[in-house]
Symmetry: C2
DNA sequence: AGAATAAAAATGAACGCTCGTTCATTTCAG
DNA sequence: CTGAAATGAACGAGCGTTCATTTTTATTCT
């Protein structure tokens, strides 16, 4: 049993984080009362303060360990990168499979922008950069097959594709607008691929 | 004078909206006190309630009249559309010129996602759709020059490009990461264009 | 193994403060 | 002169945090 190895304190600490995570995604940071976090985590209000000095510390820890980048990067790193086209396709597919069921996985980042003005981002970046750099290098090595795009831009555009997709999904997801919505992400991926892969022209 | 035509009541009503707009962008909805809105608008706390029934009504009105789409669409509609490439380029340029100075213009939308779970979006869409449809039709008419992409997807991908750009800008804007950041948006536009325009291939 | 014990964790009442909203009253504009 | 607009004190509720106390957990000693 994994639980046996984990101390009681650590277990409620995680329960607090999980409860806060769910509630922050539902109502944002400021609109989530500590009492509600305590209730969902299954302990009394005061108990939280044995594990966190204050409310903001809970969010800071959450965004460090659950920022979208922290969920996306392992997927990208585990995707075989023999050629850029198949890499992009299968990475996109994996991301849709793993993250698509919870389009609100980017909400933590939106909260960070809206309610903290990106104050926590330096720490997030510091933590995430060591994982990003080898990834960017991989992109850089495929120069022959790609149009002249700086690897970092390539990376950012690819990620941005999902951000913008899931953001509009959160906005207009359950609003019936136009029928051709179904596989918008597939189209996005195709646009990105055609935009990024070198074609022998004239 | 334009002011002369506007009644006193209407003038303070607008002052309230403007004050609330600025403060919401700075701290989000829940973290902005009515007292602060009143102070910045230059009237006493109670006075707000002569113009709005409650705090949420202020936000609802703001998002109806200042949602990013409402700022973006006029730009797109006024951009000549003789061919898709020049259209995309000059539309992008205009958007950067008009909106780029205030990357937080998308924050209102992020607040809507984070703190209202998109509750106001049906009304926004209802208001915005009549402007969107003719735009989409324009994209549809350029079929010969574009790859086979449903016009609505084309539109969404183009807008999404700016959303994701300005979102990352808000997140990592003043964090020094990598030097090649300077003209990321130009690269985004190029990727989009290559991804979208039909090239005669073998 | 089981009792003793010190540290960690949990409790819930209490505190001080700030919030959104109301309201009786006064001021001002048309 | 009348209705709209502005005032600021007041209200009740809810907030984050603290704290004295009790309970539980983990460790040490017999």
């Amino acid at each position: 049993m994994d639980d046996a190895q984990i101390s009681k304190g650590e277990r409620t600490r995680r329960a607090i984080l999980e409860a806060a995570y769910e509630l922050f995604l539902e109502h944002g940071f400021a609109a989530t009362p500590m009492r509600q976090i305590a209730e969902r985590a299954g302990l009394a209000l005061g108990g939280i303060y044995n594990h966190f000095p204050n409310k903001e510390a809970i969010f800071s820890e959450l965004i460090l360990e659950r920022h979208p980048y922290r969920q996306i990067l392992p997927i990208l790193l585990n995707t075989p990168a023999d050629n850029p086209e198949s890499f992009v396709r299968s990475a996109a597919q994996t991301m849709v499979d793993e993250l698509g069921k919870r389009p609100d996985f980017i909400k933590l980042m939106l909260i960070e922008i809206v309610e903290f003005n990106g104050r926590n981002m330096p720490k997030v970046i510091e933590r995430v950069m060591p994982e990003v750099l080898p990834l960017i290098q991989r992109f850089g090595q495929q120069k022959g097959l790609l149009r002249d795009i700086p690897p970092f831009i390539f990376f950012r555009a690819f990620i941005g594709l999902f951000f913008s997709y899931y953001m509009t999904e959160l906005l207009i997801g359950d609003t019936p607008i136009i029928q051709t919505q179904g596989n918008a992400l597939d189209h996005f991926v195709e646009i990105f691929l055609h935009g990024v892969i070198r074609r022998d022209e004239g």
